[in-house]
């Protein structure tokens, strides 16, 4: 940092990032990597809540909002699961352990883990890379197991190779008491003896009790049909939470990109309860 | 003007056209807007007078994608743009019913205001049946007058002529408005020293706010995605961070339309900062005329443009330095 102290006068300089060092990279699927990020002097860059996001940037290449996939209960580092799908993510995938990136955040609101979700039976529904934001909540819930009721995790992806965090799912989540994991893949595949079928149809097959609180994240088309399925099972909008993705630049509700109705997704979101979503104009 | 409305109603009624593209009266006497009319009732708001400067050819790109024919009113200079768009396959001739409308020179309210006239309540004398010598302007600060020619857009002083290059029928009389040489401004700049030229353009272009109005209004700028909207460049598309960028933008924009620009003058008309953008285009036109023979884009729908053509004995680029 420079010797200039003019920025210190203002409490939080949200547009100037911190430097993060990549301390571990896990190849989750052919196109998803999970990056572990620490502050250069060790430790975490900042504290966050489950569902919050951060702006990750490779200087000169680009900057984008990613959800923090590690749980706040992890006191050592932050993780981002990133799917390769553009200029920035291509570049991120080419980085190695020890490379530096810049990170600013955390931004946005979070899943209400300490309020509305407390004591509830939880149902997580995720598709593909949509597990990334939910993973942070799931691990938070597992680490504070006594505060919550039963946990059901319904997770699906295109194929068995595209399931993110499979190791953690099998070794931690499946073995935790009161946590039921339901995995599914879109098409039959050799070596897969689990369920085959789309997430929304599996959801209906499983016939979850409609007193659970649901957290959904995945591709828009999946969310659409999951919602229909939940409605059929008798779930109300007030029981369903989701998280949004929109183009963002500032992350602090000022640049105007993610403005939908009177809400800014980066500041008032990304987590919305479905009754709030219904009040927004149809521009998401 | 009423005859235009009547004719449009006829063509709508007999099913020749599905809609009319013209100008709708604004809430001030000087701000009519381009508009579509779908019925005889809507045509009650139709207006055509000296303030209807917008070149509707550009709107025909979108109109060509609609069902049925669109009746469009084109002024003589607009028809050049339309022809050029046909050449580039950006509009569909079959989807257009063109009424060539006469033109008596188009007005700019900026030119009126430049004479110190403010608080304009109404302007008389801009109609097609008026004499085109004086505008009578009622303002909050008293009644004023302004000569019609002084209020005219620059492009009308160097008018290309009263002939429509393409039309299905022609209505209303045009007027000779040309009273200046087309290349006089360009020649004046050419005569300057490099230092003076640089200072002149630096001053003018430093006003640019990169609003892209010149690009978006330009009938030749019909690319679906502009090179300046590409995320692949690190040059800002939205702000002039340094003075280089406005030069880059305007030179390249003029270059991309060189040989296709009909000199319709819309860029200069819409520039909120009054930058004489037509100078860039006209410089290219002048050079093309000098180096490769006279060429007027939009005169026809077939010929090859000068930059997609060549001869074996074209001048060498070194001519630029040699001519002094």
């Amino acid at each position: 940092m420079s010797e200039c102290t003019c920025h210190d006068k203002y409490s939080l300089d949200t547009l100037v990032p911190q430097i993060g060092i990549i301390t571990d990279i896990r190849q989750e699927t052919p196109d998803v990597k999970t990056f572990r990020v620490n502050a250069p002097e060790g430790g975490k860059l900042f504290e966050h809540m489950p569902g919050q996001c951060a702006m990750v940037c490779v200087p000169g290449v680009g900057e984008a909002m990613f959800s923090i996939t590690s749980s706040p209960t992890n006191k050592e580092y932050q993780e981002f699961s990133i799917k390769k799908c553009g200029v920035l993510t291509d570049c991120l995938h080419s980085l190695e352990v020890g490379d530096q990136i810049t990170v600013r955040g955390p931004y946005g609101n979070n899943f209400p883990v300490d309020t509305e979700l407390k004591g509830k039976d939880l149902l997580f529904v995720a598709g593909g890379i949509g597990l990334a934001p939910l993973r942070s909540v799931i691990n938070y819930v597992i680490d504070n197991r006594a505060d919550y009721g039963t946990v059901d995790i319904l997770y699906g992806s295109r194929s068995a190779d595209d399931l993110v965090q499979l190791k953690e799912i099998q070794e931690v989540w499946c073995k935790t008491e009161g946590v039921n994991v339901h995995l599914t893949i879109d098409r039959e595949q050799e070596g897969w003896d689990g369920h085959v079928g789309f997430v929304p149809s599996y959801l209906k097959e499983l016939e979850f009790a409609n007193d659970k609180t649901v957290l959904v994240c995945g591709p828009p088309i999946m969310i659409k049909f999951v919602l229909q399925g939940l409605k059929e099972l008798g779930f109300e909008n007030e029981q369903i939470y989701t998280t949004f993705e929109l183009r963002m630049k500032c992350g602090i509700g000022k640049c105007g990109r993610c403005n939908i109705g009177s809400k800014y997704v980066c500041k008032d979101g990304p987590v919305f309860r479905y009754d709030q979503v219904e009040e927004l104009p149809n521009e998401y | 003007m009423q005859e235009l409305v009547n004719r449009a109603k006829e063509l709508l009624a007999d099913g020749t056209v599905s809609r009319v593209l013209g100008w709708k009266a604004g809430d001030m006497s000087y701000n009519p807007e381009p508009a579509y009319f779908n019925s005889a009732e809507e045509l009650e708001n139709f207006v055509y007078d000296g303030f209807c400067g917008a070149n509707l050819s550009k709107y025909m790109i979108e109109a060509s994608k609609l069902e049925g024919k669109t009746l469009v009113f084109l002024k003589p200079c607009d028809t050049y743009s339309f022809n050029q768009l046909i050449k580039e396959h950006r509009v569909d001739r079959e989807k257009a019913y063109i009424i060539g409308v006469g033109c008596k020179g188009k007005l700019s309210v900026e030119n009126i205001k430049a004479q110190g006239i403010k608080g304009i309540e109404s302007i008389e004398g801009a109609g097609m049946n008026d004499g085109c010598d004086t505008l009578t302007i009622k303002t909050l600060y008293g009644d004023k007058t302004c000569s019609y020619n002084d209020a005219m857009l620059e492009r009308c002083h160097v008018c290309k002529g009263k002939e429509h290059q393409i039309s299905d029928e022609v209505m209303l009389e045009s007027r000779d408005t040309k009273d200046a040489e087309r290349f006089a401004q360009v020649e004046a700049i050419e005569a300057m020293t490099p230092e003076e030229k640089f200072a002149f353009f630096q001053k003018e272009l430093s006003k640019c706010i990169r609003c892209n109005a010149c690009r978006n209004v330009c009938p030749a700028c019909s690319c679906r995605k502009c090179v300046f909207d590409s995320t692949k460049y690190d040059t800002a598309q939205k702000a002039n961070v340094t003075s280089f960028e406005e030069k880059m933008f305007h030179i390249i924009r003029a270059f991309h339309v060189a040989g296709r620009c009909t000199d319709c003058g819309e860029c200069s008309r819409v520039c909120p900062q009054g930058i004489p953008l037509h100078l860039f285009n006209r410089k290219f036109i002048k050079d093309i005329d000098t180096f490769y023979g006279e060429f007027q884009a939009g005169e026809d729908t077939e010929s090859r443009g000068p930059l997609t053509n060549f001869t074996f004995d074209d001048v060498e680029p070194s001519i630029v330095g040699e001519r002094g």
Binding site: K9, L15, I19 | N212, D229, A236, A239, N240
Partner: protein, 344 residues
């Protein structure tokens, strides 16, 4: 009440510029815009409106945020120095001052935008009453008083009356500036003259064609009705999707953040952006406002519905009329309001 002869204004500018940066309306190549004072500039305070609003004094069209340098694997971040010297903006009209108030709601809301906040902390606003308002003005609709900036966030209010400029400090900052300039300002300004001028201005404003626009129904309660109205389908048609309206507007605050590769580092800068541009909301998985109608609607819904919903009914339009004058297709917020029945 202080006053100074208009003929002495060049001295006043010089005196201010002696100790502080001074921004004022300058004529350049036939157009008037706010810019920094220099020895050879041409101030023009007679022209009612600058082409661009003076918002760029506080929120520049482009500004550096920081510079990034890579040394091996290491990244070094050098934040841009914040404004740390006082500066004066001279000749802002009431609508433009209100525009800054609107920007404050955005940039000074938590989390604070430090770059903007530093400029606001150091800026001294000298407002000027509108001697001869024009037909495109409709500040009255938003409760702004073009005749008197006293109840705004300005630090000094001024009036141009005859051959004199009347000067009234409003805040501590304004008082301090006034005492610095005490050698040039005489303290015998006649309050009655200012009162007369105010009445004269108000009388003109009441006669302006747009002064009786009605904003009834433009609020959060009517959001769905407005959003789903079919009016938009017709209204947007002439729109060229340029950014003129947003760039001349005193309240538009959308911006873009970009990187520039200088050859030995990356400059992170932000620049104004326009919600009218087709790529404004473009991202990897698509565009959530992919038609011009949606983008057009967004701009006006934001100004007249979303912003007041979030800010106790304060509209994000100040009626300066710049879009009325500058839109290449003669579209503007007034036509939108009227189309929804606001001209009763």
């Amino acid at each position: 009440m202080y006053k100074i002869a208009k003929s002495n204004l060049p001295e006043l500018y010089k005196a201010i510029a002696g100790s502080k940066e001074l921004y004022l309306p300058l004529e350049n190549a036939g157009q008037v815009n706010f810019g920094p004072w220099s020895e050879d500039c041409t101030p023009d305070i007679e022209t009612l409106k600058s082409v661009k609003s003076p918002k760029d004094v506080f929120f520049p069209q482009s500004e550096n945020l920081y510079t990034c340098q890579k040394e091996g694997k290491n990244i070094k971040i050098d934040p841009e120095k914040l404004k740390d010297q006082d500066f004066v903006v001279f000749g802002m009209k009431s609508c433009d001052v209100k525009g800054v108030e609107v920007l404050d709601k955005v940039f000074l809301a938590d989390p604070i935008d430090t770059y903007y906040a530093a400029r606001r902390d150091h800026g001294i606003i000298v407002a000027m009453a509108c001697h001869e308002p024009e037909e495109s003005c409709f500040c009255k609709v938003f409760g702004i008083d073009a005749a008197d900036a006293s109840s705004s966030i300005a630090d000094v209010a001024t009036w141009m009356i005859g051959e004199d400029l009347y000067w009234k400090p409003l805040t501590e900052k304004g008082e301090a500036l006034t005492s610095e300039l005490s050698g040039l300002l005489s303290s015998d300004g006649d309050e009655n003259k200012v009162e007369e001028e105010k009445q004269a201005i108000t009388a003109i404003i009441n006669k302006l064609p747009y002064s009786d626009l009605s904003l009834e129904g433009w609020d959060g309660d009517h959001f769905e009705e407005k959003f789903n109205a079919t009016n938009w389908e017709e209204l947007y048609k002439p729109c060229l999707a340029c950014g003129t309206c947003t760039f001349v507007c005193p309240t538009c605050q959308c911006y873009d953040i970009k990187d520039y590769n200088t050859g030995n580092g990356t400059q992170r800068y932000r620049c104004w952006d326009s919600c009218m541009y087709s790529d404004f909301t473009m991202m990897a998985h698509g565009n959530n406002r992919n038609s011009q109608m949606q983008r057009f609607r967004q701009r006006f819904m934001h100004k007249l519905v979303y912003f007041p919903t979030n800010n106790d009914g304060m509209y994000s339009c100040v009626g300066c009329g710049r879009c009325v004058e500058k839109c290449p297709a003669s579209l503007n917020i007034v036509k939108v309001i009227k189309n929804f029945g606001g001209d009763k």
